[in-house]
Symmetry: C2
Subunit: 321 residues, 2 copies
């Protein structure tokens, strides 16, 4: 590892600087972190593994963006439950010849997003590893029984998504094509802001019946809702909020957008903007039938066709060929 | 990966089989797991990264032992706080050409230890990776304010350790020397049982002032207590419980024993056995002085000498040469 383990942990400990008055009782320096939840809260836990050359490439993303994005994935999972994040943990494996500067910038990007949400880094682990390996754990809370699950969508519910889809896909497509992309031009790809406020608003208002974040791609993530809720979905191509400069194809399959996808009853008053983020209604939940595909899409010619779940993995494999 | 990700997750989901009546409200299948703590409990969180060729070698340990040991490391951290484990999470990176049989046995070893403590596998992540990469998260609880920290040791306290030390060191030494070791002959190395009951007993009785598990080696782990408690330690070589067939050197430095190291006031009545495990008093906590080394050891000739923290990493490096 670039630094001896002890020095790396000391550095992380300084970066972690927990704030008083939050859930963290004891952070780095013990066998476990100790946290205190507010009463009548349930605990939310998510883990996300980020591995070099699988989830990111060192030549494509600045180290700060990689650190930021690792934590954003975890925070987006908390957002998708309508939760409030309490603490994060970082298990970090580093190759022996990695420049110290890279590690500094990675941790700075990570800490920047943590600071945005006043989130203490409460612990983790370090090791050497053949490639950069970061496993992020985010712990959050939500009042008992209110966390938004994937399994609550009902036939007749409308399907919504926040923001715009496919912006990250455009950047990924250019990166796979060997082009350089400046973090300034694809800022939501390099520094995605997890939709925590939107998720919390939907949980408080009890408007949404099911929710997930769009990390693997709309076609994959909507299929997760369908599977866990045992329903089908029908979406309208023309209603999908395609990011400026992107395409429907990328909006449907490229993923990595970290928007929220949710369902709400037909009579629910879902506003056009929540916490400053636009919300688009784009389809309807249908009763599950054996002969129906999980997701159908109404195209611009008025034809209903099957939407196959592909997501970013397929997209990535295709671009590699 | 050996299996497609989806099939692997389905397999893990079947293995996870959460039990009713425990803390887990929603497990695998959502963006986050949802857990419920008992009231007036604080949350304990630990993460442990296990990487092939750093923490284990495929040729040295059966896959079931590797899976078991990954989880044992996390459970031992919960034991060291006197906590009750509630749920575990597994982030698993697998090389594309790894045999499916290896993954099955790894998961079976992992699940075997989880079953021993009725611990649900509540979530995690999967990815491909250049080497086997497992990050384990264990979530536990302890009544508010009672978790045993590293920082509570006071001058005059006595120093104790459970079980015997150096058994794992003997096995590691033979493995580094190129010998094969059957899991039957070194069973506590291959299948270490985390000392959860001992830790919980010490927490309930409020006997211990500081505690840590012996994972990196007695010389390293005792130094952690000294550092966090701002004290020095003096141990007696003849009182260290060296495992049968092992040596004092291995007991001091080889680590990987997963016993509990704790301090208690001089007048505390610490029994010779706790929850069926022997307990040895082996030293005393001293006031920190600038001219004193953190740890001194009284050898068999009555000489007090400095004990340098080395631990398994040094031990491993030495053996590699």
């Amino acid at each position: 590892m670039p630094w001896p383990e002890r020095k790396l942990i000391e550095h992380i400990r300084r970066l972690a600087r927990p704030r008083a008055g939050r859930a963290l009782v004891h952070g780095i320096g013990d066998d476990c972190a100790v946290l205190e939840l507010h009463s009548r809260q349930q605990l939310l836990v998510t883990t996300d593994l980020c591995i070099e050359n699988v989830h990111f490439r060192r030549g494509w993303h600045p180290a700060a963006s990689i650190g930021y994005r690792c934590l954003a994935r975890g925070l987006s999972d908390i957002a998708a439950m309508g939760g409030e994040p309490l603490a994060c943990f970082l298990s970090l494996g580093l190759p022996p010849r990695l420049p110290q500067r890279w590690v500094d910038q990675f941790l700075e990007g990570f800490a920047r997003l943590a600071r945005d949400f006043a989130l203490p880094l409460a612990g983790g682990d370090t090791s050497r590893a053949p490639v950069i390996t970061a496993d992020i754990v985010v712990i959050g809370q939500a009042p008992a029984g209110t966390a938004l699950l994937r399994s609550g969508a009902k036939p007749g519910d409308r399907i919504y998504v926040t923001g715009a889809l496919g912006e990250s896909g455009v950047v990924l497509k250019r990166l796979y094509a060997g082009q350089r992309v400046s973090p300034k031009t694809g800022s939501r790809h390099f520094y995605p802001s997890p939709r925590l406020k939107v998720g919390q608003w939907l949980r408080r208002k009890r408007l949404a019946t099911a929710m997930i974040d769009v990390s693997d791609g709309l076609s994959v993530d909507l299929a997760h809702i369908c599977e866990e809720s045992r329903v089908c979905a029908e979406i309208v191509a023309a209603r999908i909020p395609v990011a400026s400069g992107s395409t429907l194809e990328l909006a449907l399959h490229a993923g990595d957008d970290y928007e929220l996808l949710f369902t709400a009853p037909a009579n629910a008053r879902v506003p056009a903007r929540i916490a400053g983020v636009s919300v688009s209604e784009m389809g309807v939940v249908r009763r599950k039938k054996d002969y129906l595909p999980a997701i159908q899409i109404l195209d611009d010619n008025g034809r209903l066709r099957t939407l196959t779940s592909r997501g970013w993995q397929h997209f990535a494999e295709q671009k590699k060929r």
